[in-house]
Symmetry: none
DNA sequence: CGAAAAATGGTGGAAACGCACCATTGTGTA
DNA sequence: TACACAATGGTGCGTTTCCACCATTTTTCG
C-alpha cells in the first residue's frame, strides 16, 4: 500500500511515466494487465492472495510484450531464486537505493538487459532446490519441524519406510549424516527459511 | 485521535518539543515526513490504511535520520515482534506510564539507546544466547554440524553422558523434541547463524 | 557464607535413526 | 520404445537418540 503509493509518486514525478493501473493483489494485477496490456508491470512478490511467481507465469502467457520488474523486500531466498529463474526483466530490492529506479525502469522498457540488484547476500548458493523432489521437500519440512518418520508418513498418507527413504535421500544429497546436520545444511543452502517455519 | 491530542499536549507542555506535523494515517505520515524531515516521528502501529511496519520501512529509506518512536496498544505479539526487529528507536506501551515519556523522547533524539518498555508479556519468548550455558552452546554447535554425542564428548574431553544431558537441556529450553527441530529453533532464535557454520 | 546454577559423571530402556539391500509401479524424456 | 527417475512398499540390524532418575564437585553471585 505504502510502497505502491511511493512508487507511484516516484514514477510520475521523476520518471515521467503514465501509471495506467494499480492493483491490490496478484489476481487484480492479472485481470488489469490483461485489459490494459501495459508496457511495464512493477510487481511486489509479497502479495496477498497469490504468489508473485504465479502472476509472472500468467503474465508471460497473456501479455508476452509486457516487461516485468519485480520489487522485493527481505523475502525468503527460496522465493527469490524462483523469481530469478523466471527471468523477469528487472529485480529491485526494497532495501536498495530507489533514486535511480526511474531511469532503470526506462531502460527496461527500451528492452535493454537489466543488471539485477545485488542478490548475492540473499540468494543461497545453489545446492539445487530443484534437485529435491516434491516428497523430499515435504519430508524436509517435517523434519525441520520436529516430526519423525511416523508422523510425516501419517501426514502424507504413506509408509514410514518410504519417508525414511526420502530422509536418507535428502541426507545424501546435502551430504549430512544426521537429521540435525541436514537442517543446518538446508538453512545454509536456502532450502529452508526461518520465516517459513511455524 | 484522543491519544494524538494528549501526546501533542504532553510534548508541548512538558517536553518543550515543536510539533511540526500530525497525520491521520500511515500514508499521510509518510508524505508529511518526507517534506518536513522531522527529528522524531511518533508512530502508532495501529493505524488506518497501512500497517505501521510498512511506514517504518519506508521512513528508514526516505528519512534515515529521523528517529522513530512506536506507540502501541496491546496488539498482536507477532506484529510487535516485527516492530522490535525493525529496530525502531523506542517502543512505548499505551498502557504504560506516560509521565516520563517526554524525557525519553529527548534522549532518543539525542541518539541515546532507549531501553524499550517491558514487552515480556506480549512478546513471543525468544531464547537469547545468554540463556544457554557455555557447554550448551558448544554442544549445540556440534549438533548443528552433525556431530553426535560421542564425537562432541571427545572434542570437549568429557563424557558422552554429560553431552547427552546438555542436549536434553537445550531441547527443553528451546522446546524442541528432536535434534533437527532443535537446530531449526536455534536458527529462528538467532542462536545459530548460517554464516557461522563451516 | 550459603544458595543457585553449572559442570560433571553414571545406568537403563523404549523408541527412533541411519543405512544396508530388496522390490513394483508410474511418469517423463531422449 | 527404452531408460532414468520418482514414488511407493518392505525387512533387518547395529547405533543413537531421548528421556527418566540417580549422583558429586565447582563456580557464581546476592
Amino acid at each position: 500500500m505504502v510502497v505502491r503509493k511511493s512508487i507511484h509518486d516516484m514514477l510520475v514525478k521523476h520518471g515521467s511515466f503514465d501509471v495506467i493501473g494499480e492493483a491490490a493483489d496478484g489476481i487484480e494485477a492479472l485481470t488489469l494487465s490483461k485489459s490494459l496490456n501495459p508496457d511495464l508491470l512493477i510487481l511486489d512478490i509479497a502479495m496477498p492472495k497469490s504468489t508473485g511467481i504465479e502472476v509472472i507465469e500468467e503474465m508471460r502467457r497473456w501479455c508476452p510484450d509486457t516487461k516485468i520488474a519485480v520489487l522485493t523486500g527481505v523475502s525468503s531466498p527460496n522465493l527469490l531464486q524462483h523469481v530469478v529463474d523466471s527471468k523477469v526483466d528487472g529485480i529491485f530490492l526494497k532495501s536498495g537505493d530507489a533514486s535511480h529506479w526511474a531511469g532503470e525502469f526506462h531502460a527496461i522498457c527500451a528492452g535493454e538487459d537489466h543488471e539485477h540488484a545485488d542478490l548475492s547476500d540473499v540468494l543461497p548458493r545453489r545446492t539445487d532446490a530443484r534437485s529435491l523432489t516434491r516428497r523430499e521437500r515435504q519430508t524436509l519440512f517435517g523434519i525441520a519441524r520436529g516430526e519423525q518418520n511416523g508422523t510425516i508418513a501419517e501426514r502424507l498418507g504413506i509408509s514410514a519406510n518410504t519417508v525414511d527413504k526420502y530422509r536418507t535421500s535428502i541426507m545424501r544429497k546435502l551430504r549430512a549424516h544426521t537429521s540435525a546436520e541436514l537442517v543446518t545444511r538446508a538453512f545454509k543452502d536456502g532450502l529452508l527459511d526461518a520465516s517459513e517455519i511455524d
